[in-house]
């Protein structure tokens, strides 16, 4: 943080002075603070749920240089919460979409684009030209990567993460404060913690948390108030309760402790147990699969096939193919409802939960159980395009 520019080298035009007048008249900001904002360089990792409000507000506030890292393309299911992206942007690069909006809000902000997946090879290079890093990523591997790169390069990590109605926020990796690894030394095993794509997220929740991040970024730049260092804010939007927990700097922390063992960036996919693209299969045995076309042909031929749907009842309401519904979590106690002499095809939304169900059923003695490849989404794509996708 020592290298943060004091703003004495920059000037504000009359246009900028008018634009930022509500800042300039506050004793906590003033002209001096606004110049600090203009001199500051902030990197947003991700332009999705958290990255949208972050980038929007930092741009509006007049942060001089804003870096954006993203490789993704705008998807229709993003629009419910990723407010940087509009309906017409579906299919565009998130960076293109984001930069259009941000430029329209504030043409005085310089935007640097990094059209890439942040990884151990490029992170330190990308971080070099920034003062503060804001983590709006969506997976454990990238979160540990962002944290370690922040510690190694001595830059604060303004952190938030979200799940359904709950969020967490803190400021990690400042000189005196704890880092993400002080709080969470190790990632959870793969599959134990569902992602937003699997578990869902309330659309406004990343708004709440991303705005907390933007607030902390601005406070760090201005050097005012009490930054969220050594404190973890827990937000429960259902109860609308904000709680605060203390996070201590762990003297034995492998990256920011007194005797660090992590002195350079590591392979974070390996660290977080990620093999291949998606989560690993629930068992080393190959899960037998059936393609949607094959299932359709055999059902049309009136073959005796029992379709088991292991999604949740509220998903069944959105769309179903008349399968028998037993949510994956209830399967162990409801397994007696199934006839092991029948041929069973199991499906879920995209094939992950049903693979676990097939694995479980085979271990429970069911011999003729297969997994519908790609789940009901593949069915909607390839067999019945009238089905809604979610």
């Amino acid at each position: 943080m020592a290298e943060l520019a004091d703003g004495s080298q920059v000037t504000l035009s009359n246009e900028e002075i008018l634009r930022y007048s509500r800042h300039l008249i506050m004793p906590e900001v003033t002209l001096e603070g606004q110049k600090k904002l203009k001199a500051a360089r902030v990197l947003c990792v991700g332009t999705g749920g958290l990255g949208s409000p972050l980038a929007l507000y930092l741009t509006a506030a007049g942060v001089g240089t804003l870096g954006l890292v993203d490789f993704d393309v705008v998807d229709y299911t993003n629009l419910q919460r990723q407010v940087l992206h509009h309906t017409g942007d579906v299919g565009r690069l998130k960076l293109d979409s984001a930069i259009d909006k941000l430029k329209a809000i504030n043409p005085f902000v310089e935007i640097k684009r990094f059209d890439t997946y942040l990884n151990s090879q490029n992170a330190l290079d990308i971080f070099r030209d920034f003062d503060i890093i804001a983590d709006g990523t969506d997976n454990f591997a990238t979160r540990y990567l962002v944290n370690d790169a922040c510690v190694l390069s001595g830059k604060p990590n303004v952190y938030a993460s979200i799940f359904r109605f709950e969020g967490q926020a803190s400021v990690f990796a400042t000189e005196a404060g704890p880092c993400y690894r002080c709080l969470y030394p190790e990632p959870p095993p793969l599959g134990l913690v569902p992602s937003c794509a699997e578990g869902g997220v309330l659309g406004v929740l990343p708004g709440l948390l991303g705005v907390i991040q933007a607030t902390e970024v601005i406070k760090l730049i201005l050097g005012v108030g009490e930054p969220l260092i050594g404190r973890l804010v827990l937000v429960d939007a259902l109860a609308m309760r904000f709680r605060e927990l203390r996070v201590r700097k762990n003297p034995d922390c492998p990256v920011c402790g007194a005797n660090p063992t992590v002195k350079e960036l590591i392979d974070y996919n390996q660290f977080c147990g990620v093999r291949g693209e998606e989560s690993e299969a629930p068992s080393s045995v190959k899960i037998p699969e059936i393609q949607p076309e094959e299932l359709k042909r055999r059902l049309d031929a009136r073959e005796d096939i029992y379709v088991l749907d292991v999604r949740e009842p509220h998903e069944y309401q959105i769309c179903n193919i008349s399968g028998y519904l037993i949510p994956l979590g209830d399967l162990p106690k409801r397994v007696h409802e199934l006839d092991s002499s029948c041929e069973i095809v199991v499906h879920c939304k995209s094939g992950m939960r049903s693979a676990k169900a097939v694995d479980f059923l085979r271990k429970s003695g069911f011999k003729r159980v297969t997994n519908l490849t790609g789940g009901i989404l593949a069915w909607a794509d390839r067999i019945d395009t009238s089905l809604p996708k979610y």
Partner: protein
């Protein structure tokens, strides 16, 4: 002596879908044992097969991490609140 335990959203499916539970015990360890006795599905999310608290699960007594108190032998009293703080990564 009932102690309040706050259950985070990702673990609620294994805790009867409840956000707040009451358990008994003289220490944090006893309170957590009572919790997994009431809700056995929670066990694998909180404890390793050797029965140790998993490293990615943080347990707080009021606003302090039990790692910096007396870990699972930290004494608890009726007015205390135990909070389970899981890692979540979502952001998009």
């Amino acid at each position: 002596m009932p102690i309040k335990i706050l259950i985070p959203t990702p673990l609620r499916p294994y805790a009867g879908k409840q956000a707040v539970l009451e358990v008994t015990g003289q220490t944090v360890g006893e309170a957590l044992s009572d919790l997994v006795a009431q809700y056995p599905d929670l066990r694998k999310h909180l404890f390793s097969e050797e029965g140790k608290l998993r490293s990615f699960v943080n347990v707080y007594l009021n606003d302090e991490d039990i790692r910096y108190l007396s870990k699972d032998t930290t004494p608890v009293k009726e007015t205390d609140t135990i909070t389970i703080v899981p890692s979540v990564a979502g952001g998009r």
